[in-house]
C-alpha cells in the first residue's frame, strides 16, 4: 500500500514537468517580447530589467524554461496586469468559490446518477433503462452554455425565482451565517443545475455499465445460488464492486468539471477561478492566463492522485497486498 503511494508520487514528477513544459511553450507561441507574459508591459523600465534577470528572458529558450520552472514550483506566476498583485494571490482568492461549485455539482450528480445507473442496470432493457438512456443522450448533447442561458431565461427572467448571477446578494446587510448560506445556495442553484444536468448523462451511463459488469460476474451467480434476496445481491454484492471504478471516474472527470465550471462561472458571474481565467483571456492578461492554466492542471493531477489513493484504500485487493503461501 505504501509502496503504491510512493510509486504514484514519483510518477507525478514527470507529469508535472510535462505540464509545466506545455504551459511554457504556449506562452512562447506569440511572437514578440515574452516579458508581456509575466507582467504588464507598461511598468517602469527598471521593473522590466529586473524581470528580465529574474526570468532569464534574454537567455536561450531552454534556460528560460528552467527559470520558469523554478518560479512555478514556488507558485510564482508573475504579476497580474492592472491589479499589480502576484498572480498566485489572485488565484488563491478565487479558488474556494470554484471548488465549492465543482464539489457541490459533483456530489449532486453522484447522488442522482448512482441510483439511476443502478436501477437501469438491474432492469436492463426495461422501460426505465431505455428512458434513462434517452435522457442521457440528450444530456450529453446539450451545450452547457446554452442550457445555462435557457435555465436563466426560465427561472430568473420568466419566473423570477432564482438570481441570475453572482454569489451574494449585495443588498443584504451583515446577514447571519444561515441567511448567508441560504443566499449563496440560491445563487448556486442555477450554475449547479447546469453542471449537473450536463455531467449526469455520462456518469449515469458509467455507473450503469459498471453495474452491468459487476452483475455479470461469477460471484453474483454464486450469491443467487445461496438463496439471497435479489435486492441483497444487487445492493450489497454488485454495488460495492461497481462503486470502485467510480472513484477512478472522479479523477478522470476533473478536467471536464473544471472546463464546465469555467464556462458556467462566466455566464452566471460566479466569482471563481474560471471567471477570472476567462476574463483574463479577453483582456489578454497573460500572467493570469498562464497561472490559471498551470494551476488547474496541477489541481487535476493532484486530484487524480487522491482518487488513486482512495481507490487503493477502498479495494481490499490493493489495500492488503499480503501474498499468502499456497
Amino acid at each position: 500500500m505504501r509502496r503504491y503511494i510512493v510509486k504514484r508520487l514519483i510518477s507525478l514528477i514527470p507529469l508535472l514537468l510535462g505540464v509545466s513544459l506545455v504551459s511554457f511553450l504556449i506562452m512562447h507561441l506569440a511572437p514578440g517580447d515574452p516579458t508581456a507574459m509575466l507582467t504588464d508591459p507598461s511598468v517602469k523600465p527598471e521593473e522590466l530589467l529586473r524581470l528580465r534577470q529574474n526570468w532569464g528572458l534574454d537567455r536561450p529558450l531552454i534556460v528560460q524554461y528552467f527559470y520558469w520552472l523554478w518560479h512555478a514550483i514556488r507558485f510564482d506566476f508573475g504579476t497580474a496586469y492592472m491589479l499589480n498583485r502576484p498572480v498566485s494571490a489572485v488565484i488563491a482568492e478565487r479558488l474556494p468559490a470554484t471548488l465549492l461549485l465543482m464539489g457541490t455539482s459533483f456530489a449532486v450528480t453522484l447522488l442522482i446518477a448512482v441510483p439511476l445507473g443502478v436501477l437501469s442496470a438491474a432492469k436492463k432493457k426495461g422501460w426505465f433503462d431505455n428512458l434513462v438512456t434517452v435522457i442521457s443522450f440528450a444530456g450529453m448533447s446539450i451545450p452547457s452554455f446554452w442550457l445555462a442561458l435557457m435555465l436563466m431565461l426560465l427561472f430568473s427572467v420568466k419566473l423570477n425565482l432564482l438570481p441570475a448571477g453572482g454569489m451574494y446578494d449585495p443588498s443584504l446587510q451583515t446577514p447571519s451565517f444561515l441567511k448567508s448560506a441560504i443566499d449563496v445556495a440560491l445563487h448556486m442553484a442555477l450554475p449547479v443545475a447546469t453542471m449537473v444536468i450536463v455531467a449526469l448523462a455520462g456518469i449515469t451511463r458509467y455507473v450503469r455499465s459498471s453495474m452491468l459488469e459487476a452483475l455479470s460476474q461469477n460471484y453474483i451467480k454464486a450469491a443467487r445460488a445461496r438463496g439471497l434476496f435479489e435486492r441483497t445481491v444487487i445492493f450489497k454484492h454488485a454495488l460495492r464492486n461497481a462503486l470502485l471504478p467510480l472513484i477512478t471516474l472522479i479523477g478522470l472527470s476533473l478536467p471536464e468539471l473544471f472546463g464546465g465550471a469555467f464556462i458556467v462561472e462566466t455566464i452566471f458571474a460566479w466569482p471563481g477561478m474560471g471567471r477570472l481565467g476567462v476574463a483574463a483571456v479577453f483582456s489578454r492578461n497573460y500572467p493570469v492566463i498562464m497561472g490559471v492554466v498551470m494551476f488547474s492542471a496541477f489541481l487535476i493531477v493532484i486530484g487524480n492522485l487522491l482518487a488513486d489513493v482512495c481507490y487503493a484504500l477502498a479495494d481490499p485487493r490493493i489495500r492488503y497486498e499480503k501474498v499468502q503461501k499456497k
Binding site: 446554452w146 431565461l153 478536467p255 479577453f282 492554466v293
Partner: protein, 270 residues
Amino acid sequence: MKKFKKNKLALFGAAILLFMALAAAFAPALSPYDPNELGNTALEAPSAAHLLGTDDYGRDIFSRILFGARVSLTIGFVAVSISVLIGSLLGALAGYYGGAADSVIMRSVDVMLAFPSIFLILAVQAVLSPNIYNVMIVIGLTSWMGVARLVRGEFLSVKERPFVEALRCLGSSDIRIIFKHILPNSFAPVTVAATLGMAGAILTESALSFLGMGVQPPYASWGNMLQDSQAYLRLAPWMALVPGLFIFMTVLSIYFVGEGIRGASDPKEN
C-alpha cells in the same frame, strides 16, 4: 451494416445528419437572405418572411443557421480528422514499438489530459488571434488522446499474434505491417471514437465561439449566434433557442449514429 439499419435511432440520426450536411452544402442556394445582410426589421419573431426570426441587426436567422451549419460541421469534421490522424499515428507507434517510444507517448497523453481542454484552447487562442483555421487545428491538437490510447490498445493485443511474426519473417517492413495489416483492425472502434470526437468538437467550437474566441463575426457560427443572443434573452428568446436547438440536434444525431456503429460492430450485442 445490417445491424446498423435495424437500429431505428441510428437511422434517424443519420437522416438528420445527412439533412444538415446537405443544407450546409447548399446553404447559398437555400438561404432566402444574405446571412450578413443588415435588415430593417430587427428582433422580429419567426414569421412568414423570416422563418426563424431576425437578430439584433435585422439579419435573417434562418440564413445564418444554414451558413452556421457549414462552419460547425466543417470545423467538427476537420478537427476530428486531425485528432484521429495524430492519435492513430502516435497510438500505433506506442503500441507497436513499445519501450521508450511507448513511455514518452503515453506520458504525453497523461500530460495533455491533465489540462482542462477548453481553457487550454482559450489560452492558445488568446496568445494567437482566433480565426476559423486555428480553431480547427487547436481542437484537433487537444483531442487526440482518446484515439491514441485506443489504437495503442489494439496494437498491443495484436502485436504478439503469429501472423505478425510471419509477416516479419517474410520481410515486410514495419511501416507496411503497421499501416496495412494492424491498423485496419482498429477501424471500427476508431470510427466510433471519431463520431464522439466530432460531437465533442462541435460542442467545443460552439463554446469557443460563444465566448468570442472561436469563429469571429461577421461569420455566423451557431456558437457566436448564441453570444449575440445573451443580451436579448428577454426580448427575443428565439435568438437563443434556435441555434442551441440546432447544436443539440446535430450532436444528438451524431451520438445516435455512433451508438449504431458501435452496436453494429460489437459481436456480443444481440
